[in-house]
């Protein structure tokens, strides 16, 4: 593979969006000192990061 295919690039973009949103969500919860913030950290931030990473890994494996 010498060039990034449009399909792979599209997957990278989606993974990047998910990771970016996940990391920002994680960062936002750190400024909120309440037990619920941990749930948001894991449930929203962690979930988006894991899905983003999984999508990236699937993209590079499948191409």
């Amino acid at each position: 593979m010498n060039e990034t295919t449009p399909r792979l690039h599209r997957k990278f973009k989606i993974a990047a969006c998910l990771l970016g949103l996940g990391l920002l969500a994680e960062a936002a919860t750190l400024h909120w000192s309440h037990p619920t913030s941990f749930l948001f950290f894991i449930g929203v931030g962690g979930f988006l990061v894991i899905v983003g990473m999984a999508l990236y890994l699937l993209a590079i494996v499948s191409e």
């Binding site: 060039e3 990278f12 990771l19 990391l23 994680e26 750190l30 309440h34 037990p35 931030g45 990473m53």
Partner: protein
């Protein structure tokens, strides 16, 4: 320190991800592939790990515990102007760190004590949001002497004082609870009738 590390990792990750999305041709070279793996996999894991650690550290603070409405009376009980109230006596006389008052007494001093405390915390959240909060809060299991002895064992004021000296073995083996004699704990039902201590810098 952890906050700075988290911020650095997140910013670095976002910059690299942005760069690789803007210039996908970078990922065709071997170095670019490694960079993408770091940006899309290693750094997000590191950021999530740092974040989880920061949350766990936050959760040890008194402010964090008292941020739940149901814990407010327990927070107030730390300011009762009566030294026979065990939590108040410990809090007001700096026998425990004030900023970690709840955690210091309510963690298990065992290898996985912190983890157990966090699991109990998640159980609290479950009850708080999905179940009915009991009118009178109680510990899940009886308070163990181990938690008291973690600090008091070896202290002269404890070891040489009667009747601790005579019943030391019973206390160590948990055959007799410290709370049998020291039985004025939070007593939140009586807070309205109790005089409160006003901390100088409060």
């Amino acid at each position: 320190m952890e906050n700075q590390a988290f911020a650095i990792v997140v910013i670095l990750s976002l910059i690299l991800i942005g760069l690789l999305v803007a210039r996908p041709s970078l990922t065709t070279a071997r170095g670019g592939k490694i960079l993408a793996f770091i940006a899309f996999f290693i750094l997000p894991i590191a950021a999530t790990g740092f974040g989880a650690y920061i949350h766990l550290e936050h959760s040890k603070s008194t402010q964090f515990c008292l941020s739940c409405h149901v814990m407010e009376p327990y927070g107030k009980s730390l300011y009762v102007d009566d030294p026979t109230y065990i939590p108040a006596g410990h809090f007001q006389n700096n026998r425990i760190p004030r900023e970690r008052a709840c955690f210091t007494c309510h963690t298990d001093y065992t290898m996985f004590g912190d983890v157990n405390a966090k699991i109990r915390g998640l159980r609290h959240l479950y009850v708080y949001y999905l179940k009915e909060i009991p009118p009178k809060l109680a510990l899940y299991e009886p308070y163990k002497n181990r938690e008291c002895l973690h600090c008091h064992a070896g202290a002269r004021s404890f070891e040489e004082k009667s009747p601790h000296k005579e019943m030391r073995a019973q206390l160590t083996n948990n055959e007799m609870s410290c709370l049998t004699c020291h039985n004025t704990i939070h007593n939140v039902e009586h807070l309205n009738k109790t005089k409160m201590w006003k901390a100088p810098n409060a």
